[in-house]
């Protein structure tokens, strides 16, 4: 009998949605499990890290790792899986570009801990208990992994062979990626296993996207009635489709929501936010500085919007240390 290829699935700092994108394979999940030997998948099976360490280096055909690198422990586990695997596949936006987790890079770790454990209005913590690397409880010494100073994408700590984009990836993309791995049909190393072009190239609303568009201001979702068939940009609503890779099956567009960029930049673009700045600025019709300023004023949080999924992988990576908004 042919030996089934060994596979591992792991999560770092994520929300669990990427795990869900495997479970969403539904019926084909059973077929998948019949074709592979899952040697490590903490969310689904009861394995120990020791089981993983016992494997020979390179023994796993592929490890799918989701989530960003937020703690030293994530980095350590990623390195262990890298050693044990022939291929490492970055699974989802957080692993590829830091994802929403990467927005933590607008803050310092001290600010994050203070907000979470002291300042947030929904927190009652009169004793002021905050997580520490070492604490003693009932005579036991407990350890927590330290937070990294900045969130990093997976390729910030290990070599990554392939990327499946999305927050989370569609089950179709997961199925396709798993099949490519199992059947040994993988493309060139470093490829993103999805559409190469921008979302606009495949968007159902692309025919209504104006060739030349000028706006005096941008509208907000909360106070605008949105036509469900017309390009969002034509309705003066910011849509990141031009700066975003396609392949998501228009999930948001189909739900009448503009693209927020979760598939990351298309091939040939490295900084999604910088690309967004360029194309959004070019839509502003006026050349008068005051009118331009007015239009820009209608985008309350441009950095958070343009880098929602890619801050940790951006050129600047996050807010300069020890600084507040300038």
């Amino acid at each position: 009998m042919r030996v089934k290829p060994k596979m591992a699935f792991y999560w770092c700092s994520g929300c669990g949605g990427c795990e869900e994108s495997i479970l969403d394979l539904a019926g084909s999940l059973a077929d998948l499990l019949a074709r592979i030997d899952v040697v490590f998948w903490p969310v689904a099976f009861d394995y120990d890290y020791a089981d993983l360490e016992r494997l020979a280096d390179g023994e796993i055909l592929a490890s799918f790792i989701n989530g960003a690198i937020r703690t030293e422990d994530h980095a350590e586990k990623a390195r262990l899986l890298r050693r044990k695997s022939r291929y490492v596949v970055s699974h989802g936006a957080c692993a590829q570009t830091g994802g929403v987790v990467g927005l933590g890079n607008f803050f310092t770790t001290e600010e994050i801990v203070a907000r979470l454990y002291r300042e947030s209005p929904t927190v009652a913590n009169p004793a002021g208990i905050v997580p520490r690397e070492t604490s003693i409880d009932g005579g036991h010494e407990l350890h927590l992994p330290p937070l990294c100073p900045s969130v990093k994408p997976l390729n910030g700590v290990i070599d990554v062979d392939y990327y499946v984009p999305g927050c989370p990836p569609t089950p179709e993309l997961m199925q396709a990626a798993l099949t490519l791995v199992i059947e040994g049909m993988l493309p060139a190393k470093g490829s993103v296993l999805a559409e190469k072009r921008s979302l606009c190239d495949t968007c159902a609303r692309r025919d209504s996207k104006p060739e030349k568009l000028t706006v005096a201001r941008f509208r907000r979702l909360t106070d605008t009635a949105i036509d469900p068939a017309t390009c969002f940009l034509a309705q003066e609503i910011i849509c990141l489709g031009p700066a975003t890779r396609g392949g998501c099956r228009d999930r948001c567009i189909g739900a009448n929501m503009p693209c927020r960029g979760c598939f990351g930049p298309p091939d040939g673009v490295t900084d999604q936010g910088a690309r967004a700045i360029s194309f959004i600025a070019s839509l502003i019709g006026s050349n008068d500085p005051a009118e331009i300023a007015h239009a820009i004023g209608t985008i309350p949080d441009p950095a958070g919007l343009f880098y929602r999924y890619t801050l940790a992988a951006s050129t600047l990576r996050g807010r300069a240390q020890g600084r507040t908004d300038g």
């Binding site: 100073p149 360029s278 070019s282 050349n287 331009i292 600047l316 300069a320 240390q321 908004d325 300038g326």
Partner: protein, 149 residues
């Protein structure tokens, strides 16, 4: 590491800080102005490193972010005066982009004063010298730009 590099490349002043300024100049106006200043042997601060581009409109926001990330304490883009761009509208696009970029840079903790967009024509050698000198002094006051690890 980057700190070390910087210390190597910039001359030491009394207070220990010499700002490093990256200055993008368009081929048709502002670069000629810098050239004119040079030919007239006008002195301007050695803190400025010039990068020539065909048009200010060629300066992608990512170039500016990369300059800041790689060690610049300030970035300048100098183009032709409004209406004078060799490619007609390049500098108008630059203006919009830089204004939006400045807001984003502020959110990254980079003061807007570290980013300067101005217009200098081919004959304005003096204006070029004044503009870069003013920028160097302004950034010197702000101090070195800290970066994210």
């Amino acid at each position: 590491m980057r700190e070390k590099e910087k210390a190597k490349k910039t001359p030491k002043a009394v207070d220990g800080f010499e700002p490093r300024i990256i200055c993008f100049l368009c081929n048709w106006c502002s670069y000629s102005a810098a050239d004119a200043a040079g030919r007239a042997q006008k002195a301007y601060p050695a803190n400025v490193s010039v990068i020539k581009v065909m048009c200010s409109g060629r300066v992608d926001p990512q170039f500016i972010m990369k300059a800041f990330h790689d060690g610049a304490d300030g970035v300048m883009v100098l183009g032709c005066h409004p209406g004078d761009c060799h490619y007609k509208k390049g500098n108008y696009q630059t203006q919009k982009r830089v204004l939006l970029l400045k807001k984003v840079l502020g959110q990254f903790g980079i003061e807007q004063e570290r980013m300067e967009l101005d217009w200098v024509s081919a004959t304005e050698g003096d204006r070029f010298v004044e503009t870069v000198t003013r920028m160097v002094e302004r950034v010197r006051q702000l101090g070195p730009l800290e970066r994210r690890a």
